[in-house]
Amino acid sequence: MLKDYFIYSVRNLRNRGLRSWLTMIGIFIGIAAVVSLIGLGEGLRIAIMSQFGFLGPDVLSVQASGLAFAGPPGTGVVEPLSDELADKIRKVNGVEAAFNRYIKSGTLEFNDKQNIGIAASYPEGENRKIFETMINLKAEDGRLLKDSDSRKTVLGNNFKNEDIFGKGIRSGDKVLLNGIDFEVVGILEKKGSFIFDSVVLMNEQTMIDDIGIVKEEVNVIAVKIEDVARADEIKGNIEKLLRKERGVKKGEENFQVQSPQQTLEALNSTLFAVQLFVYIIAAISLAVGGIGIMNTMYTSVLERTKEIGIMKSIGAKNSAIFTIFFVESGLLGMVGGVIGIILGMIFAFGLSAAGRAFLGSELIQASISPFLVIGALMFSFMLGTAFGVLPAYQASKLNPVDSLRSAK
């Protein structure tokens, strides 16, 4: 019997074609917004996690802060970190190792094609091994760098793909960085992180000699601590030292000491706030859509008053009338939801494909879980029925005599 009511409801919705579609627009915009933005947000979160996730909780990074609008971390700041700081940090209680890192973006050329290359320094001497273990650096092809290497580079795993230069780079190949010849001695194993898979590593001295970085202006100091349980305490000690060294008061720090894990948490909470905002906007849009359904259903009850009277006169119980209108509004919600989910998925995956194609960024990716799809579907049906309860109840309570007398 429910099936018959269902067919009858579908027939009625189709009969009011344009009005049904207009009503559903409210729902599918809301659902499309929820699905695409949550999908993209989730994708972004996964992408960010994979950028830093492989760094352990025992790693801290020190950066000068200030006017860093763009560019790699620690570049373009007003008061950079000085190069003796690392030695001083190393002496802080609980610090196992600390070394300077230099980062500079440049133009990488191979096979007559150019691309952006982020040149990053490879610490020398005793820090080399610590650095290699810290980020678990291994060469997939060729070897890692040695102290004696000059104008030699190790590239991230992405460069072996053909899509960057039309031809994959192998160890032994020659590349140009800012117009200077470099020999590629190795390709790193894949990390799954866009930053590390696109890195151009070279010895610190090579960066000073050939890329033009200033030894006294350090971008990042990488710190390895002895005991993760004491991370906060050690971080505090480093901050204290830096305040003294840079002559700033507490609360006016022009530097940051962060652990990648903390950065992730901070990013996560920011993302959560953004997602919450999206949820609120979507909720408003869905509420408006729901009221649209209610309005349409009330109009429908008015228009079909006579029909209700006829159905009652030929034996329809109140519950039958209620079911017909209830199913109808639920369908409005659910069909709106299905279209919204499809649109949202097209939008999210389209945007991530466009991001990859035009920006070459893997940060824009969509992750739409079955949970999100089923949840959105159920929610849209519930929304339809919730806003349909009152009109359906009104319809079911109509007096058959008055309804039959109604003009329509």
Binding site: D4, N12, K312, S313, G315, K317, S319, N399, V401, L404
Partner: protein, 232 residues
């Protein structure tokens, strides 16, 4: 003596319209016997429509008793009344009152849907009924695609859907030309004579009322005159 199928005893219906009380029925007594063809006549405002609503279990009286098959239905709930209507009474209206979005076949099958009968059975039954009213070739047509007379025949088929004991026809020929009206009346008469259905016909047209065995004249909400066509 045939048994009573519907009996109204001292039925009053009073509508309150603001300050004014409108007495639509004022102590109406009516006894409809099984297999009878009864016509109710009267001028407009005589309470005909209200009487039909009471007989058809569409409304309950303000005062008095309505006995259907010896059960008092005047105190039943809307949903219980709906069930009784669906099973026992078939309605035929002046404006045909078909559902515009449904085909002729679906319209005829609709009362059976409300009785929770399976699809196969009701399609079979609806098909047979449409063939009886000579619309076997119009089953998939929507009401708008049918003429007035054809629509009224669909409505007759629908009234018969649940094989009710009583057919209640409210001005069934009111919207039809006289020859189509005759055809429709012919069907009703056949139902009464051959199928033994009790038919209650409301009309203000003497030519229509003449098909009935008995005519009750209403005025001011009560019967003022009864006429029997045959000597029974």
């Amino acid at each position: 003596m045939k048994k009573s199928i519907i009996k109204l005893e001292n039925v009053w219906k009073i509508y309150e319209m603001g300050e004014v009380k409108v007495k639509a029925l004022q102590g109406l007594d009516l006894d409809v016997k099984e297999g009878e063809f009864l016509a109710i006549m009267g001028p407009s405002g005589s309470g005909k429509s209200t009487a039909v609503n009471m007989i058809g279990c569409l409304d309950v009286p303000s005062k008095g008793k309505i006995m259907l098959d010896n059960h008092d239905i005047s105190k039943l709930s809307e949903s219980d009344l709906a069930q009784i209507r669906g099973r026992k009474i078939g309605f035929i209206f002046q404006q045909f009152n078909l559902i515009p979005t449904l085909t002729a076949l679906e319209n005829v099958a609709l009362p059976i849907v409300f009785q929770s009968v399976d699809r196969e059975t009701r399609t079979k039954r609806a098909t047979k009924l449409l063939e009886i009213v000579e619309l076997g070739d119009r089953m998939e047509h929507k009401p708008a695609e049918l003429s007035g007379g054809q629509q009224q025949r669909v409505a007759i088929a629908r009234a018969l859907a649940n094989d009710p004991e009583v057919i209640l026809a409210d001005e069934p020929t009111g919207n039809l030309d006289s020859s189509t009206g005759e055809t429709v009346m012919g069907f009703l008469q056949k139902l009464n004579r051959k199928e033994g259905k009790t038919i209650i016909l409301v009309t203000h047209d003497k030519n229509v009322a003449k098909h009935a065995d008995k005519i009750e004249f209403l005025k001011d909400g009560k019967v003022i005159k009864s006429l029997r066509r045959k000597g029974d």
